[in-house]
């Protein structure tokens, strides 16, 4: 189970270059576009598909995945979804409630198995994966949820340390990595606080810290800003972007139209279990 981090920088660079020509709307992007334009004067145009092929296998592949819950045999939660996610990508998973976002995430963490089709995470097929290996899959996937899922009786430090302790990391690792990751999320002052004594944004930072403390190559966030006000949400998204820049693949399932529209990252849209859109530098795209 080694999601290769070394591939990280390359596909992203390639994708950026490839899309630089498309209507840049923001200052930063325009600036980057100018640089890329200068480059393309000397270099041939990059073909996105060719670049992907050159860069080897994607980290996550959905191959015609269908999930039918026994309770609703006529209404698949996901039907015939195929897509690929590359190392180092930052992508949004959007869709209305009941569109299959949560099913998508549960399939990735192997909480549930696909009814049909195959899911590959780092070349490993999830439905045929042995149960005892599932924990090792999850050690490579950080998860953040709308309701934070913090333990109320443990302090901020203990909550983050818990994630390392239960996978058998030594005290030494805990002592060095926990303060480091708490500094990264901006909570260096709050080590000894209990979750109840923190604001919602701070609690979400703790849960992000817990998700990334083991340095997983993939971070999945299910509605990470669902309970937070827009400004705090912005802070959380900045943090996720920073984490993405360290090479972590970040997948964010969200309802937050503004954020998706602002960030202009790859967007995967689900509608009633079907993949309706897979767009680089996309927008939220649903009517409110």
């Amino acid at each position: 189970m080694a999601i290769d981090r070394s591939r990280t920088a390359a596909p992203q660079g390639g994708r950026r270059a490839a899309h630089a020509g498309q209507a840049p709307s923001q200052g930063r992007a325009r600036n980057r576009a100018q640089i890329t334009n200068q480059l393309t004067q000397t270099l041939p145009e990059l073909d996105v598909e060719a670049t992907r092929a050159q860069l080897g296998q994607p980290v996550i592949t959905f191959d015609h995945v269908t999930k039918v819950y026994p309770a609703q045999p006529n209404k698949p939660a996901l039907s015939d979804v195929s897509l690929q996610i590359y190392a180092g990508e930052f992508l949004f998973l959007v869709g209305h409630s009941g569109s299959g976002k949560s099913t998508f995430i549960k399939l990735l963490t192997r909480e549930i198995k696909a009814t049909q089709g195959h899911i590959y995470v780092a070349d490993e097929e999830l439905s045929s994966m042995r149960n005892w290996r599932v924990p090792y899959l999850r050690r490579n996937i950080g998860c953040v949820f709308q309701d934070f899922k913090l333990l109320p009786s443990k302090t901020v430090f203990e909550n983050v340390a818990f994630a390392l302790e239960v996978i058998g990391k030594s005290k030494h690792v805990v002592k060095t990595q926990v303060p480091e990751v708490l500094r990264l999320v901006g909570l260096q002052e709050k080590f000894g606080k209990l979750p109840d004594q923190l604001s919602g944004g701070e609690q979400q930072r703790v849960s992000i810290a817990r998700a990334i403390v083991n340095r997983p190559p993939l971070l999945i966030c299910d509605e990470p800003t669902g309970n937070l006000d827009p400004q705090t949400s912005r802070g959380i998204m900045d943090l996720l972007e920073r984490i993405n820049r360290t090479g972590t693949t970040v997948l964010v399932a969200t309802h937050d139209r503004e954020m998706v529209d602002n960030m202009r990252r790859r967007v995967i849209a689900l509608e009633r279990g079907r993949l309706t859109r897979d767009q680089d530098r996309g927008v939220y795209g649903f009517d409110v």
């Binding site: 924990p135 999850r138 050690r139 899922k149 994630a163 996978i167 058998g168």
Partner: protein, 304 residues
């Protein structure tokens, strides 16, 4: 090894958190194992008793008062040839009376009532190597034509042969019944103990559902998640079984002498090694019950 310490710490915490249910399962385990233990002790006593009764099984073949000495010698020679016969001896009328009056020292008036006459017959006493063979040996003696001649009633020689017919068989039957009832009771008690441990651990799991969810989320291995609960179940069972052992030992020290005083003619002593085996068995059985009970509880709640 560090996780063993963690399991222990966590299981103690779980213990403190659910004190009342924990006590419930400890008491159930304790009572079940106590009854099982008492059963085993009583069983060993009964076995011992059986063995001493068996060793006392002899055949007494009564001889007519007028039987000539040489005939008796001949019959005794024949009998000693039979397999399973250990020793053959002769009890004269005088010896029989003496034995009888010795056993009746508490009511000497019975002897006085005899007025000097001796109604007791002489007998050939046969000791056996294998008590189970008592019936076949008795039949062989009964079939011996020389014995028939000297027996008290040649028409009916079987009446002159006494070996406690039926008593031994009845004792065997009794112990078999006791054994079946015991096994059924033990199975029932183990089942009840399992259910209780199962329940306690389930409550412990429910109390820590959130923690378990997070442990699974961050990829704790199943063994690591189970550890504290298995430890907790085993701990309850261990405490329960130690209590049972202590109570049985107390019974042995204080109640058994009273019983021995009350029923003097039976021998209730069994060797210390048997007690030690029973105690060790109870503790091991308790821990196994605890582990199985909590494993069942978790199987339902910790599916991947």
């Amino acid at each position: 090894m560090s996780s063993i310490g963690y399991f222990f710490k966590e299981s103690l915490q779980g213990f403190a958190r659910n004190l009342s249910t924990a006590l419930g399962s400890i008491i159930t385990i304790f009572l079940s194992l106590l009854i099982i233990g008492v059963f085993f002790v009583a069983g060993s006593m009964l076995n011992n008793l059986m063995r001493s009764v068996e060793s006392e099984v002899t055949i007494t073949a009564y001889v007519a008062d007028d039987a000539p000495q040489e005939e008796i010698q001949k019959v005794m020679g024949d009998i000693s040839q039979i397999g399973d016969v250990a020793e053959v001896s002769f009890t004269t009328k005088e010896q029989a009376l003496e034995n009888f009056s010795n056993s009746m020292t508490s009511n000497p008036e019975i002897i006085e009532q005899l007025d000097g006459t001796n109604p007791l017959p002489a007998s050939i006493d046969i000791e056996l190597t294998d008590p189970q063979a008592v019936q076949s040996v008795a039949e062989t003696v009964e079939g011996n034509p020389d014995y028939v001649k000297i027996s008290e009633d040649p028409e009916n020689p079987g009446d002159s042969i006494k070996y406690g017919q039926g008593t031994v068989e009845r004792l065997f039957q009794l112990t078999n019944y006791v054994r079946y009832i015991g096994i059924a009771l033990i199975v029932l008690l183990i089942f009840i103990a399992l259910v209780f441990i199962n329940n306690t651990i389930r409550l412990a799991i429910l109390a820590r559902r959130k923690e378990i969810a997070i442990m699974r989320l961050v990829g704790a291995s199943n063994g690591f998640i189970r550890g504290p609960f298995l430890m907790e179940g085993a701990l309850h069972a261990l405490i329960g079984s130690i209590l049972a052992v202590i109570v049985i030992q107390l019974l042995r020290m204080f109640a058994l002498p009273q019983l021995e005083n009350a029923i003097r003619f039976l021998d209730f002593s069994i060797p210390d090694s048997t007690y030690i085996v029973i105690y060790a068995g109870l503790v091991v059985a308790g821990i196994v019950i605890g582990l199985i009970g909590s494993a069942i509880a978790m199987r339902r709640y910790l599916k991947v």
